[in-house]
Structures are given as structure tokens and as C-alpha cells.
């Protein structure tokens, strides 16, 4: 597809930086891997530098760290209940991983690992498997109740139960597609409008440039929003696993 040198999709190309091979499987260190490493380094730096002072009265960076901590903690408490507390570190990591991958992707010439379906699907699949295991571990076979809405007439159940089951198994797909599609569409659009600016030149290029600026702001908003959406949906799935009765 990306035949031309300036295709809007060229930015999603995976490039090998350090070729690695393990048992015939290609595990090369690529630009995607590089930006994942940069993302976790940046997240770690922000959160540890901010907390370096451990001040009783927080400074700016410490406030950022504390607010994000409380933000995720409240999100879990409100959406998954108090039983969601043991999964706080995982969801905190998930949020910061996605947030930093998304935000760092906004830097020109960088790479957005979350714009690849396999990455988002990998995370969504882990959430899906984890939630399913937690559901069965906490409720045993009672977890099946999740598929049977309470207070519904018996004949309707024949329709509703298959729908519930399908919607449950579609979760990892919808979760991963949402993040992947948002990231990819946003970056493609930025590239397309960037191309307009160049091709329209100095005379008419200002209109798409102005739009590009606005779009960049929107994309930064989407980068944060999608990290939030991914995390809060994981919380809701966790809630289903902990309290399967509707």
C-alpha cells in the first residue's frame, strides 16, 4: 500500500534498528520498541523526579504525580469498587503506558506504538484474559451469571444471553480497535494536512496550517482521552468480574 515515498501511512512503518532473532522468530529492536522504551523512561522520570522531594506541601511535579495517583485510585474505586484495589498497580501502569505512548507520538518524526493494532490488541487481550480469570477465581461458576441479566422474562433470555456472550467476547476487539483507530486516524489526518500545507505552498498553505494547529491540539486531547477510556473500560470490565450479578 505504502508505495510512494510520501504516503500518509509511511509514518507507521516498522523499521528494524537492531536486528534480533530468537529461535527463528524476529524480535528485532524496532522504532516501535524504541518509543515504548522512551515512553516508560519518560513516565518513570516524571513520576520519580516529581516525588524526589517527598515534600509535605507538594511542588508542581509532585502535584502532577499525586493527582494522577488519586485520579486512577478514584477511577478504580468509583468504577470497580473497593475490590479493585489490588489491581491498582496494573491499571496505573496501563494508563501511563498508553498515555505516554500516545503523547510522545505527537512529537514530529516520532513513532506511536499504540497506532499499531497488534500492540493495542496485546494490551486489550491481557485485560480480557485477566478479567476472565479474576471473574472465575472470585466467583467460580457464578461468573456465568454475568451473561444472564436479572429480572428479564425467560423467553427474552434466549435472545439476550447470546448477545451478552457475544458482547463479552467482542470486548478485546472493541477495546483495541478504539485506541488503534483513534491513533492511526489522527496521525494520518495530521500527515495529510501537513501534505496540503506543502503542496499548496506559501500562498494558500496557511489555511491547512491553521487547521493543522487546531488538529494538533485536538489530537493531544484525544491522546489523553483514549488513555483514560482504555483504563476506565478496563475498570468497568474488572467491576463485572468482581460483581457479575447485574
Amino acid at each position: 500500500m505504502a508505495a510512494g515515498g510520501h504516503s500518509p501511512l509511511e509514518q507507521f512503518e516498522i523499521k528494524q534498528l537492531i536486528p534480533l532473532n530468537a529461535g527463528g522468530i524476529d524480535i528485532s529492536f524496532t522504532n516501535s520498541a524504541l518509543w515504548m522504551v522512551i515512553a516508560i523512561a519518560a513516565a518513570t522520570l516524571l513520576l520519580t523526579l516529581g516525588m524526589r522531594g517527598r515534600a509535605m506541601v507538594p511542588g508542581r511535579l509532585q502535584s502532577v504525580a499525586e493527582i494522577s495517583y488519586e485520579f486512577i485510585a478514584n477511577m478504580i474505586r468509583d468504577n470497580a469498587g473497593s475490590g479493585g484495589k489490588p489491581y491498582f498497580p496494573f491499571l496505573f501502569t496501563l494508563f501511563f503506558f498508553i498515555l505516554f505512548c500516545n503523547l510522545l507520538g505527537m512529537i514530529p518524526y516520532s513513532f506511536t506504538p499504540t497506532s499499531h493494532i497488534i500492540v493495542t490488541f496485546g494490551m486489550a487481550f491481557i485485560v480480557f484474559i485477566g478479567v476472565t480469570i479474576i471473574g472465575f477465581a472470585k466467583n467460580g461458576l457464578g461468573f456465568i451469571r454475568l451473561f444472564v441479566p436479572s429480572g428479564v422474562p425467560i423467553p427474552l433470555l434466549f435472545i439476550l444471553v447470546p448477545i451478552e456472550i457475544i458482547s463479552y467476547f467482542v470486548r478485546p476487539i472493541s477495546l483495541s480497535l478504539r485506541l488503534f483507530a483513534n491513533m492511526m486516524a489522527g496521525h494520518t489526518m495530521l500527515k495529510v494536512f501537513g501534505g496540503f500545507v506543502i503542496s499548496l505552498g506559501f500562498v494558500a498553505g496557511w489555511a491547512p496550517l491553521a487547521f493543522l494547529v487546531a488538529l494538533t491540539g485536538l489530537e493531544i486531547g484525544i491522546a489523553m482521552l483514549q488513555a483514560y477510556v482504555f483504563t476506565i473500560l478496563s475498570c468497568l470490565y474488572l467491576h463485572d468480574a468482581l460483581h457479575p450479578g447485574h
Binding site: 516501535s32 520498541a33 516525588m51 499525586e66 495517583y69 496505573f92 501502569t93 500492540v119 488503534f180
Partner: protein, 161 residues
Amino acid sequence: MPQLAAETFASQLIWLAITFVVLYLIMSRVVIPRIGGILEDREARIRGDLDKAEELKADADEAMAEYESRLASARTSANEIIGEMKATMAAETEKRRQEIDAELSKRQAEAETKIAEQRDSALESLDEVATRATAALVERLSGSADQDRVAKAVASVGEGR
């Protein structure tokens, strides 16, 4: 579309797993305990300060109550002293008054007896003067006067008084 190039999937998944696990370990071992610790410390500190403030307020209330009670007891003892003083002063005044009364009545009685004595003596001398005057009158008129009869006559006049 580069996203569908399946030959890159393995590497992406491997690096996703590595970076995610590393980030998870950093977050769960370092970052989260640190932030949680500071938040707990702060909460404990605030709670401690509030407790201390409560304690100090209780102390202040206690001191205030003690002050009030002391003030009240001081007031009552002052009232007692005033009452006592009033009573002693009243008693003293009464005693003094009685003394003065007694003195006065004694003096009055003395004065009365004196007056009575002087009157009596004045009356006695009056009889004598009257007798002598009468005798002198009788002698001038009659040439001679019987002293005894004159005295009797004067006495009889005096009795009619």
C-alpha cells in the same frame, strides 16, 4: 498498511511485554509506594494536627471552666466576708448604742434626782422664808408674834397648795 505486516507482530508483542513489565515493576515497587506513602503521611499529619488542636481546645475549655469555678468561689467567699462584716458592724453599733442609751438614762436619772433635791430644798427654804415674812408682818401689825402659831398657819396654807 504497515499495521497488517504480520512479520513485525512478534517483535512488537515481545517489546510491548518487556516494556510493560518493566514499567509495571517500576510503578508497583517504587512509584506507587512512594506516592501512596507521602499521601498517607500527609493524611496522618493532618489528622494528627487536628487531634492536637482538639486536645488543646479541650485543655483551654478545662482551664476556662476552672477559671469560672474559681471566680464563682471567690465571689461567694467575698459575699460571705461582706455579710460577716455587716453583721459584726451591726452588732458593734447596737452595743455602742445600748451603752450610750444606758449612759444617757443614768445621767437623766441623776439629773432628775438633782432637780428633785433642789426643788425640795427650795420648797423647804420657801416655808422658812414665808414663816419669817409672815412673822415679821404679824409683829408689825400686832406688835408681837407667836412663832409657833405663825409656823402652823403657814404650814396649813402650804398644805392647801
